[in-house]
């Protein structure tokens, strides 16, 4: 299964076995659920903001190694990041899921998931936490705009 190291890179297996930022975020400003009913994967993403900065991010969920590792890696990248850069990374990450290409400089350790694009059935696994994060951001926007 040496080829499997392309998809299941050491970083992915590490985050799957020892997820970072996993658990409740009691004083979260927004949360959103990610659900993939086809495979039962679940990822909820909670965000806490200070102005336009994501000061804390946590996820909870169950699912395959790709969905859970992607969520874990995402939280480590976005914690302390600005909202606008988070949106930018979402675009670049979802682009990488289509093309398999992404600049290591821009995507950093997210590039470990680049080979997921070769397995179309698994792209939705990798995207689940990002979609939940996006929905969580949207709620903040709604909340801000109605203030």
């Amino acid at each position: 299964m040496s080829d499997m190291r392309d998809l299941y890179q050491q970083l992915i297996l590490d985050h799957f076995k020892s997820p970072r930022n996993k658990g409740p975020l009691p004083d979260a400003d927004t949360t959103a659920q990610g659900r993939n009913p086809l495979c039962g994967d679940e990822v909820d993403v909670a965000l806490k903001f200070d102005g336009n900065q994501i000061v804390d991010i946590k996820f909870e969920g169950t699912g395959c190694a790709i969905s859970q590792a992607s969520a874990s890696i995402m939280t480590t990248v976005l914690k302390g990041d600005s909202v606008s850069h988070a949106r930018d990374l979402l675009d670049k990450f979802s682009g990488m899921m289509v093309t398999g290409k992404g600049s290591l400089q821009q995507l950093g350790k997210l590039a470990a998931l680049a080979d997921v694009h070769k397995y179309p059935a698994r792209v939705k696994c990798a995207m689940l936490s990002w979609r939940a994060m996006e929905a969580s951001l949207e709620r903040r926007t709604v909340a801000v705009s109605t203030e």
């Binding site: 299964m1 499997m4 998809l7 299941y8 086809l38 039962g40 698994r122």
Partner: protein
């Protein structure tokens, strides 16, 4: 279990050209037969031969070619009738598959016959194709759905079935064999319960027809549905068998050509059975291919087919059951054909991905049985499912690959 001798894969495998290919650097081990089966040369050549030599629209042609096409198509119907021991070919309706067959009954019988206060009894292990059509009918008619749960051995709970089936029950619609668990359901007992209260019985034979001899007269059911593509035949063809007196009373399902007797601007009258339910140009080449698949299976002997698949399934359950951390699902007493499993710490999709790397094709997911997965308390399982061309060596490879995948994911 049958006393018939198992088939020798060395005799069978050359009949299936697709199996002779590499995947993941190894010979493909195709273990997703509950989803669809591979096709023997006899079927491939029958479909090709039909298009090369016989193709014409059926039933209305004056010319010789159309007559030959009609004979080929109606000949396939005769074969289908014989395959399930139906006494009357008029009661054998070609559909696009099991799903359309069940929808036909749900629409043409259910919407006509059911009303509020009536009940339909299903089981929690139904494939969505024998569940969603009834949910639609229940919504349209006010009928209520009741579900037979799993008992302690993950077979259907017959005591609960006896409680659920009551004089308000108008139909019991049940999988003959579970696609997700492989359980052969106690259809004789449940049919008896249904008959006691005057309810009709529909059996979803998608998994049973490719697996063991089926005799609709002995089963005592009122409808039996199955698909061609799981039975070594082409996609896009299936069969609904129904009791003739019930089919006669039913309104048509789809309207169009072929299914009519006369059409005026004021209204239409219906063709006789089975064509009343076959609107439009039928699935002619597919029916011919299905006929060839049935000839192939009948020549081998369905009792030997059953023995072969049962032996493989038993061997797989023993081999996989020895793997530390594995859970096998289904009723060990009746389970065959399909084997669902989960490995502690390895998600079913990751498992299927890692098995694919070893050239082993299995299915992971909910297997179109989401309520069953909820009942089992899992999101998904990995499922290996068997046909006559599978071998003990393939199951050995499966067991070894499962161990390897677990070691890879769990870092053992």
């Amino acid at each position: 279990m049958t006393s018939a001798a198992p088939l020798d894969p060395a005799d069978i495998r050359p009949d299936f050209p697709l199996l002779d290919q590499q995947s993941g650097g190894q010979l493909l081990a195709y273990l997703d037969n509950a989803a669809t089966s591979q096709k023997p040369l006899a079927v491939i050549e029958a479909v090709e031969g039909y298009y090369r030599h016989t193709n014409a629209n059926v039933h209305r042609g004056i010319y010789e070619l159309a007559n030959r096409s009609t004979e080929a198509f109606e000949g396939a119907r005769q074969k289908a009738a014989e395959f399930i021991n139906a006494s009357d070919w008029h009661s054998v309706i070609f559909t696009s598959g099991t799903t359309e067959a069940i929808n036909l009954v749900a629409y043409a019988w259910g919407r006509q016959q059911l009303g509020s206060g009536d009940e339909i009894v299903l089981s929690v292990s139904e494939h969505h194709s024998n569940l969603v059509p009834w949910q639609l009918v229940a919504k349209a008619t006010g009928a209520k759905l009741r579900y037979i749960p799993l008992g302690e051995h993950q077979g259907l709970d017959l005591e609960a079935a006896a409680q659920l089936i009551n004089p308000r029950t108008k139909l019991v619609a049940l999988g003959h064999q579970s696609n997700a668990l492989g359980n052969v359901n106690p259809v004789a007992q449940i049919t008896a319960l249904a008959k006691n209260v005057g309810a009709l019985v529909l059996l979803d034979g998608a998994q049973s027809a490719p697996h063991f001899p089926v005799d609709v007269q002995a089963l005592g059911c009122d409808f039996y549905a199955f698909s061609g593509h799981k039975l070594l035949g082409p996609t896009g063809i299936g069969v609904l068998w129904g009791r003739r007196e019930i089919l006669e009373e039913m309104d048509p399902f789809l309207g169009g050509g072929e299914m009519i007797h006369t059409v005026t601007l004021e209204g239409s009258t219906w063709n006789e059975l089975p064509w009343k339910f076959e609107a439009g140009t039928p699935k002619i080449a597919q029916a011919v291919g299905l006929g060839a698949a049935m000839d192939y299976l009948t020549a081998l002997g369905m009792d030997r087919v059953q023995r072969t698949i049962d032996d493989l399934s038993d061997y797989a359950a023993r081999s996989l059951g020895e793997i530390p951390g594995i859970t096998l699902y289904g009723d060990a007493d009746t389970r065959s054909g399909a084997l669902s499993f989960a490995m502690k710490g390895v998600h079913p999709h990751d498992m299927a991905q890692l098995l694919d790397q070893e050239g082993i094709a299995v299915r992971a997911g909910h297997h179109c049985t989401q309520p069953l997965m909820q009942s089992l308390g899992v999101a998904a399982t990995t499922r290996a499912s068997f046909q006559i061309y599978n071998t003990v060596e393939e199951i050995d490879r499966l067991a070894a690959a499962i161990r390897k995948a677990a070691a890879f994911m769990l870092g053992a």
